[in-house]
Symmetry: C2
Subunit: 455 residues, 2 copies
């Protein structure tokens, strides 16, 4: 019999972590709902035809694939076996685990577009799975919290993503953060301007790394990716823009001849303006022309959120994509969305010590168990506590009191009711405060009022 273990890259969440994670999920969910987003859940696995080809070659490799049930190998020939694992996979596997929440959402929109009230605002909070190499802070199973609006081009959506983030993060106690924003159209315009028309893809990939590898390495990469040295020289303003006080004005000077870039700048200015009208006096937003994010399907605004003064990557990201459902044969449905990473938010909150002390989900009072009579006496009291909405339990076995109190202590139960023969006769029970050690005699109603007041 081997010692059981967790699958690599996965985790159990015990009661204490669950309480903290639930606090994060509840806060995010409440904000999503306040903004009119409706809940959606999709299955853990999808047909591979839905998933493959949506995340690039690397993504296809990182999809967890389910072995077909039953005799999956009976009909295969020797040829099939010798072809190598990639073609073989398609013959013995038809389903894969959810890799993100966006592709299943797109599938849902396509399958239900006849009945959905458009614009459709949905949120989705579910785990996703990636066969990545596990490392610190990177797991094979992790939750995403997504909110998306599809079916409208209105820049209100972009502005509301900004205010939504300003609603969620302070509710979690994260007050020092920056929402970085860019617009793909500006990147497209820049590619045009430097004589690298249509190359905003590789341009994005390279300048996305500016933060991590610095200007020299980015230049090197651009040259490798086929940019002429003339183009690269023309890119200089991009690298300086971060230090500009009026980046939009500067950009307009530089990119005035590019219609698409001007459109991108105008969109951002409109978002900036709408955010103010929506009541955010000092929005924590920052234009960042180097922000491109890995995924290349964004067509308008691009978002990324950093918690400041914490050594953790971005805690949220998103943007506008004009062709969410195109890969399923339904063009013309534009959307914009944001995804929050719960694991990183959890780490930020741990590091900054932001979790509230009280753990709502655990037992508030335990009734001790001296002997058969006291136990029966306690049994009759238990339902009264619960009916009053108080999480309560009675210790199941008549063991030494020390062991019972130790149990209450380890479970962080704040109150213990002690019942002996005195208590049974008088009806006044001894209530022990486990923090202070203090004891007092109260009847059941008194105990209920006292504990209810603490909640």
């Amino acid at each position: 019999m081997s010692k059981p273990s967790l699958a690599r890259g996965t985790r159990d969440f015990g009661p204490e972590q669950m309480a903290k994670r639930t606090f994060i999920f509840d806060t995010i969910r409440r904000s999503f709902q306040r903004y009119g987003f409706l809940p959606l859940e999709t299955p853990a696995f999808e047909n591979l035809s839905v998933l493959m080809g949506k995340y690039g070659d690397e993504g296809d490799q990182l999809l967890f694939k389910l072995l077909n049930s039953g005799d999956f190998s009976g009909k295969l020939t020797e040829e099939d076996w010798k072809e190598g694992y990639k073609p073989l996979t398609t013959k013995i596997s038809e389903k894969g685990l959810r890799y993100d929440l966006t592709v299943p959402f797109a599938r849902y929109v396509v399958m239900n577009r006849g009945t959905l009230a458009m614009p459709f605002k949905r949120y989705q909070i579910q785990p996703v799975w990636r066969a990545d190499r596990p490392q610190k802070g990177r797991y094979r199973e992790f939750y995403q919290c997504d909110a998306d609006v599809v079916g409208t081009d209105s820049l209100l959506c972009e502005a509301e993503i900004v205010t939504l983030l300003h609603d969620i993060l302070p509710s979690l106690g994260i007050t020092d953060f920056t929402v970085k924003i860019n617009n793909r159209k500006i990147l497209t315009g820049i590619a045009d301007m430097v004589g690298a028309h249509g190359m905003e893809g590789p341009l994005c990939v390279a300048i996305d790394k500016l933060d991590k590898i610095g200007k020299d390495k980015v230049v090197e990469e651009l040259l490798e990716r086929g940019f002429s040295s003339e183009s690269v020289v023309k890119l200089d303003p991009v690298f300086d823009l971060a230090n500009e006080k009026e980046p939009f004005a500067e950009l307009k000077n530089w990119l005035g001849d590019s219609e698409i870039a001007m459109k991108g700048i105008q969109e951002l200015e409109e978002v900036w303006d709408m955010v103010k009208v929506l009541g955010l006096e000092n929005p924590k937003i920052q234009f960042d022309v180097t922000l491109a994010r890995g995924l290349s399907y964004y067509t308008g605004a691009i978002f990324e959120v950093k918690a400041n003064n914490v050594q953790i990557g971005s805690i949220s990201g998103g943007g506008r994509y004009d062709n969410l459902t195109g890969t399923f044969g339904v063009p013309g449905i534009s959307g914009v969305g944001i995804s929050l990473g719960v694991d990183r938010i959890y780490d930020v909150m741990e590091e900054l010590n932001l979790f509230p002390e009280s753990r709502k989900t655990s037992t508030k009072v335990m009734i001790s168990n001296f002997d058969v009579d006291a136990f029966r006496f306690g049994l009759a009291i238990l339902p009264k506590l619960r009916e009053a909405g108080i999480n309560a339990e009675i210790y199941p076995d008549s063991v030494k009191l020390k062991k019972q109190l130790d149990y209450a202590d380890r479970k962080s139960i704040p109150f213990v009711i002690l019942i002996g023969s005195d208590e049974m006769q008088s009806g006044l029970l001894t209530l022990k405060n486990m923090h202070t050690g203090e004891q007092q005699k109260l009847d059941v109603d008194g105990i209920i009022s006292l504990i209810a007041a603490e909640l």
Copy 2:
């Protein structure tokens, strides 16, 4: 481009279903917490060494298995391919999807037994996956809601399962239900008494079907399973017991010589007694000596819950198992638990029309969008509504009012705020009640009070 589809046996849960399911989950979770159960979540996939051999041969077949990542077939020989799919599976797959919540819980207890406060009361609400043939009411992905106590033999746990069910089901509106109870020890004693010592396994399997196939077929099956016709004749009292008014008294007469059967009866009587002390005047419990349930690992009490007057199988089941962690090399940890099937509960509630009308999670008020000026005016009002805790949105595009009202209608939004030039001048906005069609003029505070009063 093929039309996208759901994987067989899986479902999307759109906003309306999500609201109903959330109501069920929240109700169950609240009751679990009131009883002092703490939350646990385990990963979606486990090493196959943890899962295999725990659910019988059929279960092993129904496990969804994950194909190993990377070049899973490179090192395999021709021999491996020819061995057939079962041995081949172990060579190309190391992980499987969660099949129930009990085995992962057992693994968790074994891995964390040094730090858990025993007795450990945990609840777990997560999906499980089974490669079953999909049919009406049977899915390949479905949720289980489990509550278990491990580390105590106290019959309090059994009694609290009964009261817990009497807490949860009426909270959902399900008031007409029966909790059937049996005890494995009685079945063991019966096997002894009829001269079929140690054969309570096949006895259980056969008499478990009494409800479905009738006495004659059960007798037939017992003979097939190796019971002598003499033994089968002696079993007659079992079939009559259902009609007895005092089944325990009858059983004691019949099984008085069987120490283990008497122990089982005594345990049930104690549970009956404790349930009353716990305040349940008229418990909806019924002793059913034919209740055995498919899984053979129960060693004490066995539970099953039926909603009456609804043609749906059991909505909950459970029992006591004395050797939860034995398969992981840690003997002697006794447990007792209950599992609620959300999908069947959902179906019962739909059939009996028990879902509450109000859907808490959806938008309560929508601000219409006439033109740019009205839109900006509305934008400034929006955050005030949300700050007051009201789920609110503004229609993003300046389209025809009919289209905007249609959207509100389809999303079941009860109120719409209409803003025109009059409204902007006076500050008195038109609030339209979407149910009644009624309109009234109110300032923002008045609107907030009116909507808050409706929540």
